[in-house]
Symmetry: C2
């Protein structure tokens, strides 16, 4: 039972009412970019009030300021005119529940989905696994507020990011839907 | 004039009606992940029919299968149980309008936003710029369908991605809102 027919049916409905959205320009109308987590519970358009055409949205596991996220942010401001960046992590993030060692071990044992128990992730699959995970830095998050501070700092200190771009650091609370400022991150991210 | 007050006001409104969303579980309820572009015109929740809690959404400049996107996809299936992947690029993507050489040149000349003219991007800013862009592979897209095929293949061939996960390749048409299948990509991405 693939999700494909459901996704295509939803898309059919969306495109049927597309109307004036066909006229949107490429550069974000509201001149900002959000870097956030891939987590299924987060809908950045809803939690930040975005309509189609408003803002760039970059997402990865953790909402981390990876090299690829920085590539995207630089393209965002340099070619498409964004002037403010948000880094938004969230409570109860999966990245808080494992370490490099744990995921490397799980992957080397099997390529099936692990089970989350009260003692952490446990492998229930059959092998073979792969040791290719040893070569990946998984960017896990031992402390969510610190990770926001670190990510804002990493973007701030990149020589391709102009000092004129403010960078706001927030944690999204998955229990309330609220954005909570990480003050140390935002302060370090203000234009200097 | 920062967008920050507008974003926080929109968030206030969203969280006020949060209701049962506070009960959502971490693993995606519909067991799939979408990799797509950061482009402001794309709202994956709308074009693919996602509610909060349904699916992982990974986004970067171009929707490319970067190392970071693959990190995210592996976490998605191995720890959080997704069973199908979508790679969705789109028409009129900014990544089609420049090359590594162009963006490196623009960044070395200034860190202000370039202007898009009929002859391509033109720098209108004042220096100084930075040569740090020389060290980044920008993952531009000379041909959109080929890029989808390439990205699906790159994910398919990663030793950490099990053969049981189908990978569907699509291009989203920004003029109609429709998802158009890239048949060669999807075929190569089917379970083998």
């Amino acid at each position: 039972m693939s999700v494909l027919p459901e996704v295509l049916a939803a898309n059919e409905k969306y495109s049927a009412g597309f109307g004036n959205l066909s006229q949107l320009a490429m550069p974000p109308a509201r001149h900002f970019a959000i870097l956030t987590c891939m987590d299924a519970r987060l809908d950045p358009a809803k939690f930040a009030g975005l309509s189609e055409g408003d803002a760039h949205v970059i997402r990865n596991a953790g909402g981390r300021a990876s090299d690829d996220a920085i590539r995207s942010l630089v393209i965002s401001y340099k070619l498409l005119g964004t002037k403010e960046f948000f880094v938004i992590h969230h409570t109860n993030c999966g990245m808080e529940f494992f370490t490099n060692e744990v995921i490397r071990g799980l992957l080397s044992s099997s390529l099936e989905t692990a089970e989350l128990t009260s003692n952490g992730f446990r492998d229930v699959g059959k092998g073979p696994g792969s040791r290719a995970g040893e070569f990946i830095e998984w960017l896990t998050v031992p402390n969510q507020e610190q990770a926001v501070v670190d990510d804002v700092e990493r973007i701030r200190n990149n020589p391709l990011v102009p000092a004129s771009i403010p960078i706001y650091g927030y944690v999204y609370d998955v229990k309330s839907g609220r954005l909570i400022e990480v003050q140390e991150a935002t302060a370090s991210g203000r234009a200097r």
